[in-house]
Amino acid sequence: MENEILVDKAKLIPAVQKMLTEKARLGTASCVDLGDKFEIIYHFEPQASAEPLKHIRVKIAKGDTLPSISKMYLCAVLIENEIQDAFNIQVDGMAIDFQRRFMRSKESAEVELVKPAAYAPRAPTRLPVRCGEACPAGIDIPRYVRLIGEGRFAESLAVIKQTMPFPGILGRVCFAPCEHDCRQYRQEEPIAIRMLKRFAYDHATYEEKKPTNRSGKRVAIIGSGPAGLSAAYYLAKMGHGVTIFEALSKTGGMMRVGIPEYRLPRKVLDEEINMVRNLGVEIKTDTKVESLDNSFKDGYQAVLIATGAHQGIKMRVEGEDHPKVIECIEFLRNVSLGKKVDLGNRVVVVGGGNAAIDAARTARRLGAKEVTVFYRRSRAEMPASHSEIEEAIEEGVKMEFLASPKRVLSKNGTLSLENFRMQLGEPDASGRRRADIVKGSEFSVDVDTIIAAIGQRPEIPGPFDLRIGPANTIVVDTETLATSKEGVFAAGDVITGPASVVQAVAVARTAAIAIDKYLGGKGLLPVEEVKVSDPTSRHTFLERWQKKEKRVEMPRLATGKRLQGFDEVELGLSKAMAVAEGQRCWRCDLEE
């Protein structure tokens, strides 16, 4: 070619620099494979376009690197990347390096397109859901509700069992924070998640996988309530030897002695506890543990205290030590253990929680004709669950709101309760409105029995020698649930004060993981994967054209039959009802 300059590698940059000072434009470059060498020719267009092109030729040996001219002519990056890719020549110092992904790679037949990271397709995800986040046990609620809606009851039960061992119990007694957070709650038709959980338990079976390898360690659990049983379940599954020590003659803790039989049938409770026994857990009843050191001496490497909160809180009114003023939890325990309790006809229950309602409904079943619940605030602030209050009213329990006891009077053998009228004041720190005494508003009622259901506290034996916190709860580390004593852990109501079954189960899970780690394990809970295909989209557009569906109504025992005994009041959903309710779910966990 005319107007060409031959350079060797070292002189390439100065030659191009000369072109730059002459204000020549880089046209393109060519590369020729000469066998043992490569020849690269750069074609420049001089500033005055009438003049002919100028060329710079450079030869480099194979395996040698080519210096980049892109610092002077940025457009050269395209050519140089192409040369690098097509001829496998290493080019040094390119301003932009596409790293050999510019052209079709000679090795593979596939064309790799350069895609910036922002264009990467989204992997299908399941969105976080409000019901799932509200559940203390972290159950995959949308999935199991959806499976019931599809008629796959066994798979639904398996999903529940992934994170929570007792669907039979919680399907009957859980206070269902999930339903309060259900997005359909605003339309007052939240999905009946608890009823569906009970349905899954009643209509399907689940085979528990027995643990395969034993760790050789032994754990002592004090208390066979929900926390103790759950921790035993998980620890047994992780391969440890577990023994539960129960002070009473029957297992179950608050589930047996606090929750009446018409809410949680003993058959179901015994089934669930036997399930835990079948995993190899030993339960010793009528055994009260007095000293923790003895446990360690007896060959246990770790101890979990799950004794719960069973001591009733006093009303702190004058005259409450009268024998006919009985404490709620003691009353319910006596009834559960089969002891005879004589209430008379007129019973007043002081309190507003589920325990008070349970006591009132139990009193009705024991034959009391007039049972009234006295609560210091109004119905809206009552902590008991709505279905409980409804059923109590159906059974003839009367409610007296804005009344608080002043003192207990006993005249000539008749018992009477003097009360203040209350009025609602400003909301306090927790948001609940305060109850203020209306001066001079005292009124009295004649009663046969007063049941005090103000609240409960844990009771911890002194010899345990643990750090005790407010309201007599054991102080634990928030992550490991370890107490102030080495090797001793605590879970359940004994660390939180009276809470719920599901919260006890959730905390027990954390405790089991912490104990496993303490005993040298990895803290890995065996989670069974439920291999069921999940849909990728909702039915949304069609849902909009469907009529607004109401929440399913739980069929209940007729009121007349209820008071004859302690038969279960809630009868359970039929298959058609459960499937329809499952299909009503909005499936908030799916995209679109």
Partner: protein, 360 residues
Amino acid sequence: MAVRTVIPFGPQHPILPEPIHLKLELEDERVVGVTPVIGYVHRGVEKAGELNSFRQNVFLCERICGICSITHALTYCQGVEALTGVKVPPRARFLRLFWSELSRAHSHLLWLGCLAEAVGFESLFMQIWRARETVMDLLEMTAGHRVITSTCLVGGVSRDIDKEMAREVDKRLVALKEVLDNTAAPALLHDPTIKRRAVGKGMLSKEQAEVLGAVGPTARGSGVAIDIRQTDYAAYKEVGFEPIVETAGDSYARTLVRAKETYQCIELMRKSLAMMPGGEILVRVDGYPEGETISRTEQPRGELIYYIKGNGTNHLERLRIRTPTFANIPTLLVMLPGCEMADVPVITLSIDPCISCTER
């Protein structure tokens, strides 16, 4: 010696509905060569199709072109439905046919008006566009918007036409037919001005049409009887359809094809409303599109091809669109050379260029 000049025709031109850009090589007043230049309204739609989820892409595809909006959405939906294995309910297929034909009527009426304007017959242009307003009102009444209908969704359609609305639509279609009978038909069939400007201009023989791959009315005006509606997509099989063919091969033949197709559209719409079965109009689409497919429909201008490739995620891997005008532009290379410069607008218009489709 003849003076050669190169003048640009378009992209902005008073008679063009779309910005087609042709470089015309003229010798005095005679066209000797033509070079189409494409890219004026390229918007990167195919790349954008990879960024949206496959359900959101329907709205993107609708907006490729305003006049053939529903056909783009329909072709895309058909492709994705093939990839996800969804069977569209029968009522939805009839509704899709209804809106496709409505869109075709809209397009042809728009084109006839533009043709009238191209020959300078402005009052006929106004009359035909007033008739077009009936079609726009029908679109607004049934679909919600006058141009972009947004009714086609993956899995069916989003709106229904109930009995009352169907009666109203039928009434208006009959009125439209009468209006066309009184204004457009006599003008197109008998007016000497239009005939002088269109007959014998822009000759495209049958062999040339086949070799160049012309589609739609451009091909049917030259005697090639291809119409993708014969492949029985949507509900064309149930409603019954025959393509309209003219053999003359000039601009007038193409005009006649489109005019007759407008009447055929009205007939097909009335038939589909009468024959529509009951049932649901939308089914749930589960799963993600995986695999490749080609989906073809008949746009007002010809055959529209969608190549859709899915890779099992929410986003498509590739969306490739071949629009009919892209196939018809090469016919200009044969039709234009030899004609007078004053004939160029009418001949270019006779292929019904839709450049926003071509250049996506």
